[in-house]
Symmetry: C2
Subunit: 224 residues, 2 copies
């Protein structure tokens, strides 16, 4: 390791490493080399070593990394030691789909509420919870101790909903509305915009002959 700050570019790759490590642990593998990790995660092995060095992680020269140790270490760096509680705003098609998404609970994220402004929707049962009213947001966030919010509203409602979420004490927001949202310092926002993704695909499809991109967002981002 060098210093305390982990580069953003490294942070965005940690979830992929984590996933690979979980798979390896499930299959009973005890040890993995930077080459092994690199191949599974789709990056170079020097990249893996450099990334892990930023976590101060100790592998063993000539051997590799202890899968369980590294898994624990990466989890703890990402702050996944406690379960996170998520509230979803917007009970349209997308909000409902997200509320039912099975990948959440298995990765330590519990959806504690689904909220909508429309009184006709409030009270409906979706995936085990009852849709709550937007007006109850402050009470709900407090009672359920929600950390993270997902905004799955139309663009026109996104900023207002965001302001209300921030007022209610949420400090991390995943924004699915095709709209930039402003937040005060200290509130983290990430954006997922499907149309943008398709536009980028359209671009790279045209240019390709050579090759594509990523990110997922990397540049990346990820879901179903």
């Amino acid at each position: 390791m060098s210093d305390r700050r982990i580069p953003d570019a490294t942070v965005v790759r940690l979830p992929s490493y984590l996933q690979v490590l979980v798979d390896l642990a499930d299959r009973g593998v005890r040890t993995v080399s930077s080459d092994g990790l690199a191949e599974a995660a789709g990056v170079g092995s020097a990249q893996v070593r450099k990334d892990l060095s930023h976590l101060g992680s100790y592998g063993t020269r000539g051997v590799g990394y202890d899968v369980t140790d590294l898994l624990n270490h990466v989890s703890s760096v990402l702050g996944l030691t406690r379960e996170r509680r998520v509230v979803i705003v917007g009970a349209g098609n997308l909000g409902r789909a997200l509320a039912s998404y099975r990948g959440f609970p298995t990765r330590g994220f519990q959806v504690v509420a689904l909220v909508d402004r429309d009184p006709a929707v409030v009270g409906q049962r979706v995936a085990g919870t009852v849709v709550a009213s937007l007006d109850d947001l402050p009470a709900l966030v407090a009672r359920e101790r929600a950390d993270i919010a997902i905004v799955a509203t139309p663009a026109s409602a996104a900023q207002e909903v965001t302001d209300r979420l921030v007022a209610a004490g949420v400090t991390a927001i995943l924004n699915f509305a095709p709209q930039r949202i402003d937040t005060p310092r200290g509130v983290t926002v990430r954006k997922v915009d499907l149309s943008t993704e398709l536009q980028l695909l359209a671009y790279y499809e045209r240019v390709s002959d050579s090759e594509g991109s990523e990110q997922s967002r990397g540049h990346e981002a990820r879901l179903a």
Copy 2:
């Protein structure tokens, strides 16, 4: 402009610029400065000028950019001159939500088919189309002249579905399955993984006090 190749970092910002330009055009604004664009898109003005210079775009010194001209130019660079035809594989909650997503048609993407492996699901009506069988993929892709596919299956099915899509002639894939997929050269893949996004939020929430990130995802991506 300098040369022909547009940097990836620039390409991923073009959709945001496009969105801002569409809004400005709707509001009847004729002209915009790099400062105006920058503010609305949430980046610096030098960034905007540098990005646009890569497109060879001509603004007017002392005035700014012609909104309509620039809009057309950015659209054409992104390859959005013709409508793109999209097939969605996986008619679970997410696939259905995406099939109903209203942001698609308004941005030039038409969902021409929703496909699933499960015979119990095939034949159901979803958002105006009938769910088709995975086995009909080659015929469907050919008949509908689909360019782009969205993979909204469980992780376990993602690679097989991808292989079939590629065999059927699809050259651009948006992958929502929490699984890395391999494709031959010439096929562009972008990944959107919701759990990853939440994990990154969890990280930045902990670290913050200072500030957050983005991507999308490019590192950023975007959706509802």
